[in-house]
Symmetry: C2
Subunit: 289 residues, 2 copies
């Protein structure tokens, strides 16, 4: 109980407000990737605070799930974007991992297959939209279609340029259909990425996570930043805002995304559904068995 | 560390062997639903022991996932069956919830839709088979097609009677394609079910889980037991055995299924994949960035 109170106090400032990207021009170099916005304490405190969120975020998740089972048409969709090693998987493991896996729908988007490409870039995204009552998580997303697709010239400029509007239309449609988006850019420095890639090379239990292509992508860092600036700036609205998560400190990143998810759930304020049967009568029927 | 050692000692006996249903006639009345087979201790010990399994089972899960990403064609499929309130959801929440949700594929089977029925009872099951490196979990399964389908006469006797062989063929096919099945029957007493249904009726945060149809099903308990006897007896092979999990004690049930999963993963013994790149060369390339 003490733990939960502490976590509550720390989120009282409203992390959603603090980490939200203001509308207008975006320059990620003005964001400190080592910041611990909204949190007072060091690493060990952060890990404890994350654990302490478990019970509360699970409770809200179950309420959302419960109302979804009884006809409410709402869901949450956490979109995780960031450079390699920024910790999309870590957030899912340590943050989403606190919740009931039955209420999660996690989709990891790799390079699209030829069949997926034929159907337009949003087709596979639409397939993965969470059902009512679910928390969806995208590990990469439709934003790759204006990030790697732009940086790597996978499509012509007039094609990717149209996609910002297409994404805005798509996200407006999601909002109308009851999906609350939480779009998080996990912000790491190139120096931190280098350390993390070195660690993967040094540790045999992490070799499977290393891909020589990561170094090629790394060399295009400034191009990726330009693409991120455009994506965040052009697809950042009141209804579907972006959040920049300082991510050089893994513990802060995990705490921050989980806190944003918790605040989002609380904002939806899902309620335990009322009984759709006669309680007294059911008690009698059950007693008679 | 101390915790992990304790848990290891407790599983040293081999719970897979202890809870496995021997081939031959099956009579569930001879199994004690309050047993704590393979575990020495009471409720609080059981909860601690479950927590202590978290790190170890997650580690094996990640190994399985890693080898799957590098070409190994193996997966695990946990099938959960049991009467209403036996705790299929509880096992997923508290046991599977210890693992990384990215490596889980959970499917909850409800009454089949008309489109699903047209395709044959195994069609939707095949759609949900876990990919390489994944741990699949079925909350109910193809066994419903010889359980409720039989008890409720949803299909003619000659139809459900053929399904046992069809299930055996399907499961043999799964085994050949690298899927290790772990089929668990969560064994509760009718008295315990009554208590749990009463609790759902008494607790407004659980009303959404209550369905008046549960009492109707409850009244058919002996018929369901007959159907379970037939299903377990006729679909119980060396390669694809059934396990009966005493489930009147929730803490034991969660510990037992998680332990069976851990032993299954250890039996597969997935190894961290070796680097498929030149480590020294990659270190140089990275250093140059």
């Amino acid at each position: 109980m003490a733990k939960q109170k502490k976590a509550k106090a720390e989120t009282a400032g409203g992390l959603l407000e603090q980490l939200r990207v203001p509308e207008g021009p975006v320059d990620l170099t003005t964001y400190d990737p080592r910041a611990t916005t909204g949190f007072t304490g060091v690493k060990d405190d952060g890990k404890l605070a994350l654990e302490a969120l478990g019970a509360e975020v699970s409770d809200w998740q179950e309420r959302l799930f419960a109302e979804g089972r009884k006809g409410a048409e709402r869901s949450v969709l956490l979109v995780l974007q960031g450079m390699d090693t920024s910790g999309k998987g870590g957030v899912i493991r340590h943050g989403a991992g606190l919740m009931d896996p039955q209420g999660l729908k996690i989709t990891s988007f790799k390079a699209p297959t030829p069949a997926e490409k034929r159907r337009g870039f949003l087709w596979r995204i639409r397939q993965a939209v969470p059902g009512h009552g679910m928390i969806g998580i995208f590990d990469r997303s439709h934003y790759e279609d204006v990030l790697i697709a732009r940086v790597r010239n996978l499509v012509a400029p007039n094609v990717w340029d149209k996609r910002y509007d297409q994404i805005n239309d798509f996200e407006a449609e999601l909002a109308e259909s009851g999906v609350t988006l939480l779009k998080c850019y996990l912000h790491i420095s190139p120096e931190e990425q280098k350390l993390r890639l070195e660690e993967r090379l040094d540790n045999p239990t992490k070799h499977w996570k290393y891909n020589p292509g990561d170094v090629d992508e790394r060399q295009l860092w400034p191009d990726y930043m330009d693409a991120y600036h455009a994506a965040i700036e052009r697809c950042n609205s009141e209804q579907s805002p972006w959040f920049v998560i300082p991510s050089d400190r893994k513990w802060y990143r995990n705490w921050a995304v989980t806190t944003l998810l918790l605040e989002t759930l609380k904002g939806l304020d899902p309620q335990w559904p009322a009984a759709d049967f006669d309680i007294a009568k059911e008690k009698q029927r059950l007693a008679a068995t």
